[in-house]
């Protein structure tokens, strides 16, 4: 689960990590009064969205007086920000963060994440702060320093010291930097984070060490033990169809194509998307109905597929196990009846009760194209799409 920058900074503050002074605003007036409370201009206005790449996309701007602040705030609030990470539709800016403009001397990177192959948490730091760590990794990997954290003993002082010496920071900042990293580690562990990142951590003319931007994501599997974290979720930053789908325990992700697909199991769902692409069409979504879907879930899944207006052909690929093929067929026929499906539907069924499932589809009165195997199904889908393109 992702949270906003301002929420991440609140969390950091709770762990005694100094953050830049700022106030959140949902309206232009709130932004102006935030500036008045905080003192003299200039300020930095930051769009609060769940995506990186804000700086280059006009989501972070410096303002020197009230009229610039008003103009910037009204330009951002209520609009959608498009960054390289959001897709062309962008995501809504419901809040902005008005922050003090700091006199920055040096920017470094600090992040804690999980190293899968070592199966433990790992601390990453770099003297190249303020840019995405992936770009540093690509351009100058020798500038990224790593400390692997043994869960038996946790992150130790000597490790933090060792890594901080290499950050090209003035000696006077080393103790402060160590404290910040230790506190960040404590936050990471106590809140079950999957990423806790301060980028950049900056030194200022005034001799401070401050978290200027922060990104924290949480392990979805651990949210059950962190009700205080769960409430930070901002559904408006997520695709509304995806949120809708999750209410029915469906796992839906919107993509750009026009072949709506419904599959059971995440791996098979990805393979089905890949297959659609392989035969020259484009998947409109990822939709995993899971192992134990009911016919109601199938019907709701179809409804969600159909609410995406780009969808022109539906491809259903089910390998029945616990989810029986007759359950799938019943849900599908119900949906066809309820929503008056007119577009082509290609169905591939295999596994438990496959004969029953096919019989239900064949006698339903609807024109379902029933395929033998996923290869044939994909070819049928490709045919339908090319007919659409010609017609």
């Amino acid at each position: 689960m992702k949270i906003h920058e301002y929420q991440a900074k609140e969390l950091l503050k709770g762990y005694n990590i100094p953050v830049s002074k700022g106030r959140v605003a949902e309206t232009v007036e709130e932004a102006v009064s935030a500036a008045n409370v905080m003192g003299p201009f200039p300020f930095v206005v930051k769009a609060q969205v769940h995506a990186g790449g804000r700086g280059k996309s006009g989501g972070i701007r410096r303002v020197n007086n009230t009229s610039e602040l008003r103009a910037t705030a009204s330009e951002m609030l209520g609009k959608r920000l498009v960054t390289p990470q959001t897709g062309i539709e962008g995501i809504p800016i419901d809040r902005i963060l008005v922050e003090e403009a700091l006199d920055i001397v040096k920017e470094v990177y600090a992040g804690i994440t999980i190293d899968r192959s070592k199966a433990c948490a790992t601390l990453l730091m770099s003297p190249e702060g303020g840019i995405e760590i992936e770009s540093v990794a690509a351009a100058s990997p020798e500038k990224i320093f790593v400390e692997t954290i043994d869960p038996c003993i946790g992150l130790r002082g000597f490790q933090v010291g060792r890594i901080c010496y290499r950050l090209e920071l003035d000696q006077s900042f080393l103790n402060k930097a160590s404290d910040i990293i230790m506190n960040l580690y404590q936050l990471f562990m106590e809140k079950d984070c999957s990423l806790a990142e301060i980028n950049p951590l900056v030194t200022t003319e005034r001799g401070e060490l401050i978290a200027l931007d922060a990104k924290i994501t949480f392990d979805d599997n651990a949210l059950f033990r962190h009700p205080d974290v769960s409430v930070l979720r901002d559904y408006r930053q997520e695709n509304s169809l995806e949120v809708e789908a999750s209410k029915y325990n469906l796992n839906y992700i919107k993509l750009k194509g026009n072949v709506g697909c419904m599959v059971n199991g995440a791996g098979l769902a990805m393979a089905t998307m890949d297959l659609i692409k392989y035969v020259g069409a484009e998947p409109a979504n990822f939709l995993d109905v899971g192992g134990g879907a009911t016919s109601r879930m199938i019907t709701e899944g179809i409804r969600i597929l159909l609410s995406d207006k780009e969808v022109k052909v539906i491809f259903i690929n089910i390998f029945g196990g616990i989810l029986r093929c007759d359950t799938l067929a019943t849900g599908l026929v119900d949906a066809a009846r309820a929503f008056g499906i007119t577009m082509p539907v290609v169905v591939r069924l295999e596994g438990t009760n496959v004969e029953k499932g096919r019989a239900i589809l064949e006698t339903s009165g609807f024109r379902f194209a029933i395929a033998e195997g996923m290869g044939q199904a994909a070819l049928l889908v490709a045919e339908e799409i090319s007919q659409l393109n010609q017609g």
Binding site: F224, R225, N264, G267, D274, I276
Partner: protein, 290 residues
């Protein structure tokens, strides 16, 4: 032969009285798996369809002499169930539970480092040595005894591959679902080694997906240590960056976990990578013939 489980495997079901536990205990027993005990805290002394239930793993192991366990315990308690199985001396632990917190698994992996027990999963569909033993939730009837090993991170995609193989008349020695989580027990490399050493496995199918770099590790291992052919498919070529595709572990983070990078690593190492998932069965057939 087969790897990890065979007809001498005796299983304890942890969480035998839950819905999933009950359903799959029946299915496994029907397939021929020897299930000698169940564990549900607070239900010791009862029975489930004549299988004795114990409060603790220690008691269950002492009474039954089992050497394997299957975990159907809800996510908040599943890590504890794995630790309890290891501590009780179980050597083969299969964790089916989906949704275990990652930091719980960090501790489990650390604890198991110097133990001689193996863990499959979590978030795994299980493992099957066709005709001998099934510990998991896969449908037994799609499998066929034979000489191809399968390693996969996903469930239904594995069934699809098994179905394609069986349809071509190709049987399987052992099929292992290693699980879709970021931190898991046995990884591709461990299983490739076991299959390479298994006299009754002639070829291996490795089903990968986006996320992490375990497939790249497997590619290096193959190049260095293996003689048997490996056919691979990587799911998620069309997956968008930064989105979790169902499995907790299936996410492209920056450039890490990207399908095209994995495919290149595998091909460079000499592994045959199938691009069309409908062609996996055919490809294995031609590899075995050639």
């Amino acid at each position: 032969m087969s790897i990890i489980i065979d007809n001498r495997t005796m299983v304890i079901i942890q969480g035998i009285t839950g819905n999933e536990g009950m359903f799959h205990t029946r299915q496994m027993r029907e397939y021929g798996t020897k299930i000698s005990a169940g564990v549900t805290p607070g239900k010791g002394g009862q029975e489930f369809e004549s299988i004795p239930i114990f409060n603790t793993m220690k008691e269950a192991v002492a009474a039954s002499g089992a050497n394997a366990s299957a975990i159907f315990v809800p996510p908040p308690y599943a890590a504890d169930a794995i630790l309890e199985a290891v501590e009780a001396g179980i050597k083969t632990i299969i964790c089916l539970t989906e949704g275990i917190p990652t930091l719980d698994m960090v501790l489990v992996k650390r604890y198991m480092k110097d133990k001689d027990a193996v863990l499959i999963g979590p978030n795994s569909p299980g493992i099957i040595s066709p005709g001998k033993c099934k510990i998991g939730v896969m449908a037994g009837y799609i499998h066929k005894e034979g000489r191809v090993g399968i390693i996969s991170r996903s469930g239904t995609l594995t069934y699809e591959v098994v179905h394609q193989l069986t349809g071509q008349g190709i049987g399987q020695s052992t099929c292992v679902g290693i699980g879709g989580d970021p931190i898991i027990g046995l990884r591709y490399v461990d299983l490739l080694r076991m299959f390479e050493e298994d006299e009754e496995t002639n070829a291996i199918v490795m089903i990968g997906e986006i996320g992490g770099s375990a497939e790249e590790d497997a590619a290096r291992y193959f190049q260095k240590c293996m003689k048997k052919p490996v056919v691979s498919f990587i799911a998620g070529v069309t997956a968008p960056i930064g989105r979790r595709m169902g499995h907790a572990g299936a996410i492209v983070d920056g450039r890490v976990g990207d399908a095209s990078i994995k495919i290149r690593a595998l091909e460079d190492a000499g592994i045959i990578v199938v691009k069309n998932p409908a062609e996996i069965g055919h490809t294995v057939k031609s590899v075995l013939a050639g």
